[in-house]
Amino acid sequence: MAVQTAPIPVSLPEEQARPNVLQRVFRSYVFRRLVKAVVTIFAVVTATFFLIRLMPSNPVEIFIQEQIAMYGMSYQEARDQASALFAIDLDAPLSQQYLEYLGNLLRGDLGQSYRSKGTYVADIIRQFLPWTLFSVGTSLLISFVLGVVLGMLMAYRRETPIDYALSTFASLVSSVPNYLIAIILLVVLGPQLRIINIASMRGSISPGVQPGFTLHFFLDVLYHAALPIFVYVLTTIGGWMLAMKSSTIATLEEDYVTVARARGLKDGRIMTSYVGRNASLPLFTQLAISIGFVFGGSVLIEAIFVYQGIGQQLIKAINQRDYPVMQGIFLIITISVIMANLIADLLYSRLDPRIRLGQGETK
């Protein structure tokens, strides 16, 4: 049979989705992630609503107990005072309360505090959340960037004194609970060494400082946030360092890094675009978990440093069984974490072209 002498065949890349389809895929990925986020938030709202109401004791009881303990009132007196104070109907069926709550929520109404009448939950959140977002966000950023850089340094200087020193440091700080580190710092730097003045660092800003775009305000904010940020960074950086170290070591063994060297690329270029970029990719997936953890930890850290953030308010609300406040704050913490997750996810999909084509969802 005749062998056809066809023109030299030229190969094309595998049939890929055309650009507009590609965009569609990406858009639908974002869309799916968004839907998932909304569903999760709804589930959290529902779960916390019922969990909180299933808790023993209620705000009225707690108030009564407090009155008795503090002022030596009789139970009846305290009770009378309570019912005068709390204009709430705790006896309405749960399902009715729930539907009401959902309805309000959809209108953006988080309700009012049971304890301080006339205080809107939304106001509490507006007042305290920015401080937590600021301190937690700043620390995450610092700790991630610094951790990635140090982790790469450890990998490049593997089995040298620098690596040993940094690895020891990383294991040490990542295994000790953050609140213990906070206490140690406070005790050692405060009363023991008298390096810092604990009392003046409390709160979020010093009394009398006016918010605004002034250097004074900015420095004051930093002064008050310094300790929490330092602790957040200290307790999370170890994890990033170790993760980045092992990821970098793995990446250094990839063929494309050796080939990059064989190609005579400059070390700096290899370190950033070849090793660094690829090695940090898996860390973005860990970022999600880390965000939740740091946010959760703020409850403890803010209590220790008396930092006026949302975590402090949550503890206060829990102790007073102030349902709407608890619920509202927990909701807002959850939303922040889920949103941060979403951002981390989308960022990751922007950075890794393999995910961009929608292949990442299978995992």
Partner: protein
């Protein structure tokens, strides 16, 4: 048809569809094959042609999405529990990667004694040890006592592959599906493994389904048997080995044979190569219409090849080929 005449393995219009990224992937499409007891059949094709999936369906490890897999005339997926277990033991599989097919947590003895003890082939560990020794000798691992208590990581690739074979032999199989069983071992070891398998075939009368991408290996292992060539999930040519190797008919088989480099400079540099129209294998996710080889086929005829799927047609001499053009030429010759 009497029970005796029934082929030991029979694939009857078997297909297998996998779900991948919300898309249906036809890994195996309408494959029929009858293997007689004691026969050697090589499934040959490039990666993604469905040969491994076919092998696993023969071994009962993957459920077909269409068609029937029969063992001694019986649909294996309609068998009762005991019957299925008997079939399962009768058909054993040898994997490609000797580093993945042995559990790193157990010793050679542990690996081989487990099936012996589970199926009551031996009564106790003492007998099991004896039997394992015998089997190790069968696969040329002598003296066996050197290997009994070794862990897989202490063995070389070739030795591991021998243990895999010996493990399969614990249950005295009638059929062995060898999935690229020699392609990951070194050249110097490969021949002795092939020879060892060949001896099992002769001495034990085991039926072999030998899966390989290497036509040269297929030729040497199955000279007395048959070769079935697969392309993108379909069987496109099947026939007796000397026929397929020396007189290939399907353009894909011819392309493959002509493309293979040979370990002889004079032969390989003067070989006539069949030019394809395209270098790239289409994705299984996006199969060409009609004959799936048509975008690359030098015999492509518009209005024919991309229109319908060619059936496997008898070309005489026991060869069957799935190609519109070849079938037409053949019909002309006959007329």
């Amino acid at each position: 048809m009497t029970a005796n005449a029934a082929p030991i393995i029979e694939l009857d219009h078997v297909s297998r569809v996998f779900e991948q990224r919300r898309k249906q992937v036809k890994a195996v499409d309408d494959v029929s094959l009858a293997v007689q007891e004691g026969e050697v059949v090589c499934l040959v094709g490039e990666s993604g042609c469905g040969k491994t999936t076919t092998g696993k369906m023969i071994a009962g490890l993957i459920h077909p999405s269409g068609g029937e897999v029969r063992y001694a005339g019986k649909n294996i997926w309609a068998m009762g529990k005991d019957e299925f277990q008997r079939y399962r033991l009768a058909v054993q599989i040898i994997h490609q990667d000797p580093y993945a097919s042995l559990n790193p947590a157990h010793t050679v003895y542990g690996i081989m004694s487990a099936p012996l003890l589970q199926h009551g082939i031996v009564a106790n560990h003492k007998q099991a040890r004896e039997r394992v020794r015998d089997l190790l000798r069968t696969v040329d691992m002598t003296p066996p006592d050197d290997f009994l208590d070794k862990y897989p990581h202490q063995l070389s690739g070739g030795q591991r592959q021998r243990v895999s074979v010996a493990r399969a032999l614990t249950v005295s199989p009638k059929v062995i599906v060898a999935d690229e069983a020699v392609s990951m071992v070194d050249v110097s070891i490969r021949v002795s493994l092939l020879n060892m398998l060949g001896r099992l075939k002769r001495d034990l009368g085991v039926t072999f389904i030998f899966i390989t991408h290497d036509l040269a290996v297929a030729k040497h292992f199955a000279w007395e048997g048959r070769i079935a060539v697969m392309y993108l999930g379909r069987m496109i040519e099947i026939g007796r080995t000397p026929q397929i190797i020396n007189h290939p008919q399907h353009p894909y088989t011819r392309a493959l044979l002509s493309a293979i480099p040979e370990a002889d400079p004079r032969i390989t540099r003067t070989k006539e190569r069949l030019q394809l129209r395209s270098l790239d294998i289409p994705s299984l996710l996006n199969l060409p219409s009609g004959c799936s080889f048509h975008p690359r086929c030098p015999l492509f005829e518009e209005g024919l090849c991309e229109v319908s799927v060619p059936p496997l047609a008898d070309m005489g001499e026991g060869t069957r080929v799935a190609c519109h053009v070849v079938a037409r030429e053949r019909a002309k010759e006959a007329a």
